[in-house]
Symmetry: C2
Subunit: 246 residues, 2 copies
């Protein structure tokens, strides 16, 4: 099964790092605050970060009292940044695709994954392994691109606009067809695996997880006054969060 | 809080009854089979049907071995049909809005509701009452219009079509705005309460329910060969099902 490593593509990597440097982006405004809102108390906890990227979150988890943090990522380029900028005696960085966690034989209390699992073909395999790695009462918290976004196949316009260019509807197609959908994001052919909402939830409950909370972050009116470009998120959310317990 | 009783409107009632008489409709092809697929073993169970309509399902539940079935509905017209065509010594029909189940003081093992809860403003109140009415280990199984459908506000076209009139995208707007949305279905001003997925799920888990299974029914290729008009359901499902346990 092919494991996608777009982050080691030079063009992708530099485009992505520029985007993340911007103070105002969807990650900073919606994804990160929601992740932290849902985060359990990490005091004394053993944390696994699936797709840790450049390690900023691993450092935060240590600051929040984690006993130790293991960060894994498929991209050696990302881990180079992590090891130089976000090193900590409590953090171990491992170069490994998320799909390979079946090789890990260690117990964790909290497994976190931020915006990675829509890149993974074998979602069920990862979920089963996370369940295996968690201690009793352990928490699995992840975000992914929202199913309403991953369902696009081919190159069609995602929005219908009025005569002034304002987005008036999201164009949604093929939501019920679960497949690999390629799109262009800095580089051509970035693959996302579309799974319906029901498949995401049923894969978790079938593995033994208890669904604790779902979030679909969106702006409030105050935020839209400040950043009017984000009013399209009222039409469809970018992200889906799931918090599940063993 | 206003409780909507469109089924006692003469125009609505006759239009609706004509639709349900058709052998091929979305209810028969997708809604009813999914409901029965998710149904637990009813042998010896006390069943409550929220929004039982004309009572066909109540009779089925008795045939499947239920100890007794209580069917409630806001529409006296529907219950007249139920009492004349679907009477059974084990079935009690009560004329009552779903929102008034706080007046019921009786234990049930299974609570079922088919395509009713999107008409209910106080979803949280109903969910809390269902939890209260259920025995330990009891099951709550319901279908509702899919959130991707209830989010439409105002009169905009739900579909973008190609030059041949074929539906190519569903037009989705205001998914993240939870509100009462009126639309025309036989009569003007049929109100549906839009709730995001996350709100549906979180309302259940907050009340104490364990999510067991979610379904978003859609056709397979064989069915689309037979009934090509239903291929639009690949773009967006009509229904959402939730099975939850106490």
């Amino acid at each position: 099964m092919a494991k996608q490593n777009i982050y080691d593509n030079e063009t992708f990597f530099s485009g992505y790092m520029e985007l993340r440097k911007r103070e105002v982006n969807a990650n900073n405004l919606f994804e990160i605050p929601t992740l932290y809102k849902l985060l359990p108390d990490l005091t004394g906890k053993r944390v696994l970060d699936l797709g840790c990227g450049s390690g900023e979150r691993c450092v935060d988890y240590m600051k929040r009292g984690a006993l130790k943090v293991t960060g894994i990522d498929i991209s050696e380029k990302m881990l180079e940044v992590a090891r130089s900028e976000n090193a900590d005696p409590g953090i171990t960085y491992l170069n490994m695709p998320v799909e390979d966690i079946d090789s890990i034989d260690e117990e964790f209390d909290v497994v976190i994954s931020s915006l990675v699992l829509h890149y993974v073909e074998d979602f069920q395999g990862v979920v089963k392994n996370v369940y295996r790695l968690l201690s009793e009462g352990g928490i699995f918290l992840f975000s992914q691109e929202h199913p309403i976004n991953t369902c696009y196949s081919g190159n069609f316009d995602r929005w219908t606009r009025d005569e002034n260019g304002r987005k008036i509807y999201a164009n949604v197609a093929d939501y019920c067809i679960e497949q690999k959908n390629d799109h262009t994001w800095f580089v051509e052919g970035v693959s996302r695996y579309h799974r319906m909402f029901s498949t995401v939830i049923n894969t978790l409950t079938d593995a033994g997880f208890r669904i604790m909370r779902i979030e679909e972050p969106h702006p409030d009116e105050e935020l839209v006054k400040k950043y009017p470009d984000y009013d399209d998120l009222f039409h469809k959310p970018d992200f889906l969060f799931v918090k599940a317990g063993k």
